[in-house]
């Protein structure tokens, strides 16, 4: 089947099998480097992308599902070389060590802050529950998110 969707603001069209996952299409057909395979079974969050603004495990999302939708990867967050606020916050807080979980973490954090600009600790934990990090111990990531939290 032919699917057409917006990837980081640009329309793309690809041929996909009905069984292809979004992860496979992004990596093999569209050569997106920032989306990472971590487990392939929806447990780690390294492959998370935003579909219409909501975080989705691309390893569990069928490619056909994104037809006509908007897909955002971490590569789509910076504009004209200027990092987005959430990317800057991750950098400032040393929230990336090996960096492998980072794109998924940043996108999950963005989705959280977009719909809830001042999350509580519990809301941050809930949002990050599907993203694993083995290096940072999460504290710098939580701090990065909190640094952007708008005071109520």
């Amino acid at each position: 089947m032919r699917i057409k969707f917006k990837l980081d603001g640009e329309y793309v069209e690809v041929d996909a099998k009905h069984t292809d996952t979004l992860l496979k299409i992004l990596k093999d057909k569209l050569v997106v480097g920032s989306v990472h395979f971590g487990c392939g079974e929806g447990t780690c969050g390294a492959c998370i992308v935003l579909v219409n603004g909501r975080p989705r495990y691309s390893c569990l999302t069928l490619a056909g599902y994104v037809d006509g939708k908007e897909v955002t990867t971490v590569a789509g967050l910076a504009h004209d070389g200027e990092l987005s606020e959430i990317q800057k916050a991750f950098l400032e807080n040393d929230a990336a060590q090996c960096g492998y979980c980072t794109p998924g973490m940043i996108l999950t954090a963005k989705a959280l802050l977009d719909r809830n600009p001042s999350p509580t600790d519990e809301e941050i934990f809930d949002a990050l529950a599907g993203n694993l990090c083995r290096c940072t111990g999460y504290v710098p990531i939580i701090n990065a998110i909190k640094s952007l939290s708008k005071k109520r």
């Binding site: 480097g33 090996c98 960096g99 980072t102 993203n131 999460y138 710098p140």
Partner: protein
Amino acid sequence: MVRVRKTRAEIEGRWREEFVVEEEEKISPWPAEASFRYIGGRVKTVDGVAKVTGSATYTVDVSLKGMLVGKFLRCPYPHARILRIDTSDAERMKGVRGVFTFLNVPKIPWYGGLTNILSDVLRFQGEEVAFVVAEDEGVAEDAVEAITVEYERLPFVVDPVEAMREDAPKVHPDGNIFAGGPSKISRGSIEQGFGEADVVLEETFRTSAVLHNSLETHSAVAHWTSIGLTVWESTQAINNIRQRLSQIFSIPLSMVRVVCEYMGGGFGAKFDPGRHTILAALASRMTGRPVKVYLSRTEENLAAGCRAQSIQRVKAGFKRDGRITAMRLEAIINLGAYAEWVPLVGGPYRMLYQIPNLETVEWGVFTNTTPHTAMRAPGFTEGTFGLESIMDMAAEELGIDPLEIRLRNYAEVEPESGVRYTSKALRDAYLIGAREFGWEQARSVRKENGKVRAAGLASVVWWGGGGPPAYAEVKLNMDGTIQVLTSTQDIGTGTRTVLAQIVAEELSVPIERVRVVIGDTSLELFSPGSGGSGTLASMGPAVRAAAIDARNQLLDIASQFLDAPPEILELRDGRIETKEGEKSIRLEDLLRQLRDFAIVGRGARGPNPDGYAVETFAAQFAEVEVDVETGAVRVLRVTSAHDSGRIINKLTAEGQVIGGVVQGLGFALLEQRAVDPASGSIINPNLFDYLLPTSFEAPEIMPVFVEPLDTRANTLGAKGLGEPPIIGVAAAIANAVSRAIDLRITQLPITPQTILEAVKKAKK
């Protein structure tokens, strides 16, 4: 004149002798009162932008023209022999380019010769049976399923204590005991020591096998061409991979190139080439095409290594004042199906305290489970749980504060060898850590709303001195940019950043001008693997020496441009100036005039000092809250006070501490590779059933650095920090929980079930 010296170098307690070429010029260590622009600061990582924008390329992202994909068929049983294997259907499938089994691959010895790269005898669930390469992943997966195997299931043993019995099923023809017997190390006389004791305590402690779960699984891309073999590998040690590939394929080092630009986490299991690496290389040689392999999460957790399970029988004698008179450890260490070394569970027993009479007996035992690998402070993380638990038991028994009993057994000299330390500030770590944590207030047990709060502490000793050989070059380009060249790798610990800081400091230039080029053996500047907490202490001095060499050359050249003697020239803010500043030239203006000539400074890591021990230390404090109704344990906060010498980058150092503490929390409360004893099957080789800490479990963590001035260890005065933060965490948490429930925790992980059973047993 170049001098060659023999020295000893260590990684994770395994020593080797090295010859080191010493440069003529001695480089002085930085003094205590030096005022720095970058060293010791909170410097953002130089490769952070690549990570937050997703442009960092990992092995699994490497995509080459004509690349094939490889997949494994793995053994479903803990112990089996292949009676018949039929690959004909797989071979006939469209797009399949090769099927490899023990019948058609060379007999490359694997795991130190205990088996071959592929064999007809399989000794753990998940062991590699066959390897398929195909045009795409789907075809490779289908072909793997098309292979039919008839197995003879063999008797198996998964429990290390059972495996030690005479009549246990044999994992290997020579039996189940590594090297035929235990490693026994003793000092003094334990009989005499126990005789002198006022109190003798005995307990058995158990730690579980846990899994690395780096977010990037093991992966490699191999490409064999007429000029040799190039391998991209997710590794902690590109030079080690290169050497092993050169040996295995009997080709010169110059024909092997190993690349690892970014890698998605390494905690010890990524030091050596895997079977995936070798088979990808074989397949590439056969097909003439690049071959990529990456493991699924389940494969990773079945076959890519684990922290070895341990059982520690400890007997300890104390005087009434808390001084240790004697200690004996007998440890049983589950190596899994194959091993070339045994993790040093006895290490902390031998190194942490001044124990006059000591015996450690360490049995490495083979079982039909995943072969162990190094994992962040292998042996020490396990051993510290046993040792620091018995120390707390003694403190309780004798009515001495847990902090005080540790101070009373403080080792002023290295207890095994009797030599001095280059520096040791563990006492400061205890005292400053206790103050920052608020030990005085926190140590009392408090009960609120059915929940109990208590605190515990543990001490840490580890190596981490690094050493030679390690080489680097610093290159000043005509455009004023500076390159640091060395074939180390950055596994996410901030290696690029600290090396850039050192060069920016020595050359007095903005760090933005320094580019660190690493992760490729074709730089031909040897660097050790990133492990044993040794990267900074090994590479940093080499890079500093290279920067100083470049600076000296630069000043020589500048003196001729400025017509001033080099002795009165200084580097300041990107300019070369006479001391009074009357003559001055910008670095880039000078370099531009040299046109295509680039100044190249060379540097080598010197030997470690003779007659001294280089070790790292920490004191770790944890406060926990235990819900005695549900058995849930929440770690509220941890203070981790470290002597790792001079801290080069506070920001990334704190990152190591926080990350290590949370991994330690996983080891303490959550993580356990579970085996079904009846079938020998691994129950949880995935991330649904194997519990990693999530953001919810992360406590408040306060890193503290005591930073003694160490002018002996190396020219930076820095010691390692990668491993110390994990070592004492489980012991500190277990000590806190034991105090909270007034029952001794003897087993990790401390699950709600453990707590509830302990509480129930106490009520009876």
